[in-house]
Assembly symmetry: C2
Homo-oligomer: 169 residues x 2
């Protein structure tokens, strides 16, 4: 990249009037998250014909077995409309099924069909391998610190963002 830039001096570090976007945390977190989604999304769509919201639903059902849409949304940080559409799509493809809750007929339990379970069993190793490859060679203690800080930032972010569900990955 040949930069056309000229005018401003390289801003002195730590001042209050300039910001280096490439060091700005919200930006960086978004970029890395987007890379993750793109890379994984490609795997999911190429090999299984599903998207990331559908993957999240499958992942939660594989982990917890039987959930309402509401629970899925809360667990996977997705908006209810996104969950609704993902579940419809999965049902259309025969990967999940719905069973009414007789005690509360507003909600329904979603669970994986045998075919859905097979898909889950196929995806999980790929996802884990992807993660392993991504973090390969990083010192375990640094990774632990990273994850700890990430948890804190996520929790604070949840509040700074004003609650509710939503995202992608």
């Amino acid at each position: 990249m040949k930069l056309m830039s000229t005018q401003p001096e390289p801003p002195p570090p730590g001042d209050e009037t300039t910001l280096r976007l490439e060091q700005f945390l919200p930006y960086r977190l978004n970029v890395v998250g987007h890379f993750a989604s793109r890379a994984l999304g490609r795997i999911y769509s190429e090999r299984f014909g599903i998207g990331i919201p559908e993957w999240r639903v499958i992942a939660q059902l594989g982990e917890f077995g039987k959930l309402t849409s509401r629970d899925i949304g809360e667990l996977s940080q997705m908006h209810k409309t996104k969950v609704s559409r993902a579940v419809s799509e999965l049902e259309k493809r025969g990967l999940t099924s719905r069973s009414e809750n007789r005690e509360d007929r507003r909600e329904a339990f979603i669970s994986l069909t045998p075919r859905g379970s097979r898909t889950y069993a196929e995806i999980v190793p790929l996802a884990l391998a992807f993660q392993a490859r991504w973090t390969e060679g990083l010192p375990a203690d640094e990774l632990r610190v990273f994850e700890r800080v990430l948890s804190i930032l996520t929790e604070r972010g949840r509040h700074l963002a004003g609650g509710y569900h939503e995202s992608e990955g």
Copy 2:
């Protein structure tokens, strides 16, 4: 949240057949990135009437002074169509202006108008304060490790995702 779950046992840690989404790195990075975008996006839109792509353009112009759309895209990891639209929007609002490059009439230099510079000067302290508040109280050395690992993951992610620009924050 009252979980409806039952069937599967809590999976033994470190096995290869189950995945805990809430510990899955791509998912986590995406969630935190989304929180960041939402929180910042609210500030930008409420106080300045712009979105995140527009913010990124302003940030780069504030930092580098005069750039082509191509450079902006590369620097801020945005798709060229997103840059194109963001620049149009900013121009419409009088925050940036365009000057043709006589040596290569395909491209144009974008720069902040005086009004754009004022907006930049207003946003930067808010953005920095946001970041400061977000990372407040975290030990400096842990934050350094975090940023170091983040850089590595970002760089690897860029390749895993297969190059190109794109994202949000």
